[in-house]
Amino acid sequence: MLDSIDCSALEEVAAFAEGRLRGAERERLIAHLAGCADCREVLAETIEVGADLDAETSDQKVADLRPVAVLRPMRSEWAVRVGAVAATVVVVGSSLVAWQLEARKHPPSRSEWLAEMPPARELAPHIWGGIRMRGAGEAGELSAQSTEIGALLVDLEVALAANDAGSASDVLNRAATILDAAGMMDDDATMLRSAAERDIVATRTVMATQLPELQKRLVERFDDFYLDLGSFAGEARIAVTVGDRDFLTARHTRRYIAWLLTQRDRALSPAALEALRLLSSDTTTAEQRRQAATDLLQSLTS
């Protein structure tokens, strides 16, 4: 590649080194760089020499540094983003349904489950308890992270449908923490945090716009088995908390639990398997079901 590299390619490498290359050009260059040692050397040295010169400049001109000049591009970019989001209004529910239907064949869709449950306004107060139960600290391994994200998506749908700004903000911030911990979706974590800062109408608008693509990326980056299991566990917890027995006796719920119990290669913990058995048993008391739902989510996310 080195012999044929031209000035426009060098300009793209420089733009990438400075974090300014965007879109398809960036993707194309990354794909090339991953396979071309000569161009990687140009990139690596451009980054390092740039840092050397920065260090020399800062040694010489510390007094002249003007942070405002650094912030300006970020502000204008943010203004564009806000404008684009404000101009787009899409209904939230449809995107969630689409993701669930496309992502997995085995479990019923989240909407199917939610249709079996009481209205969102009654469910929303229970969301905060769920987030606290799953913890506010560092997120764990991929299976636990996937499970928690799955549960949070249910919580988010309920909170947005119930216009519960506080719960929605908590859910979005917790989801952002997990994406940060996973370390693979930095832009999405930033988007979730900024959505959490808005009023409920703006949050709904932002999420309706962003969720379809976000969900595709979640399926790519996380484990879809645990994403679905987390959604189910989240809904089961809410259902038993509000005393909704129909959710657990519904045909598709029983079918899903039966299927889960056969997934030996997933090595679900004994506590999780026991919780699933209790949730699907006809003889379990309401108190046992509540405890089983709590145990299920805790065993999957701890």
Partner: protein, 270 residues
Amino acid sequence: MAAKDLERLFLDNLALIDSIVASICRRNRLTKEEREDFASVVKIKLIADDYGVLGKFTGNCGASLRGYLIAVVQHAYQDHRNHLWGKWRPSAWARDRGKMAEKLETLLYRDRLTLEEACALAAPEDREEMRRLAAELPPPRIKRSIEDDKELAGLPSSESSPETRLIDREREVLADELKRALAEAVQGLFPEDRLLIQLRLERHLSLASVAKAYRCEPRQLYRRWELLIRQLRTRLESSGYGPSQVAWVLNAGGGEAREDGDAGPSPRAG
């Protein structure tokens, strides 16, 4: 832009160009003569075709002129190096130990200098480190012709016991298998993640310096890095390779380790 304007652009940025050249020369530990030679090459390249290289800078993809000039001068250095010495590549051993080891290996093996001659070309503060590295430097990969008996006498004996040769062979086989499994695992990553691994391990960039190119905070990149390493470890383990096999392959005194009761290769022990 007219040639006159480009000439003005060149002259206005001459100090910057000199700084870039000086930085690249310093990083590659060029001698004074090599530095002067390369500085002339860069200026000729920039002036050629009525400042054609400067004229091709558009700014369309967001690069600054400074970034573009760094990339151009670095590219010129790679061209110049290949022109002078061919596509000579430092060994993996030298790459793992950084620029100083690469330079030392180049001077000793490519340019056939003695250690004292190599040290004389280096900056005084680098000489002690060069001598330390020279003691660890593995023999060259390409066999040289032996010109006289005196040279032959200076070479270490290549004889080894049959058992050592057998263990070395086992180690080579396992190393090849591991390399293949690792290459497959890396190939399965997203291109952006693959590039991150290459920049970190092949080019020795710190995650903090890559963060800007990846448009994120260094702490986010640290987390991403940990996850990538975990993914690769999981993939290797699912292919049947665990830490003991990797340690055995990397162990330079592997024969002795085996005799001391090391678990040995058992590549599919899983």
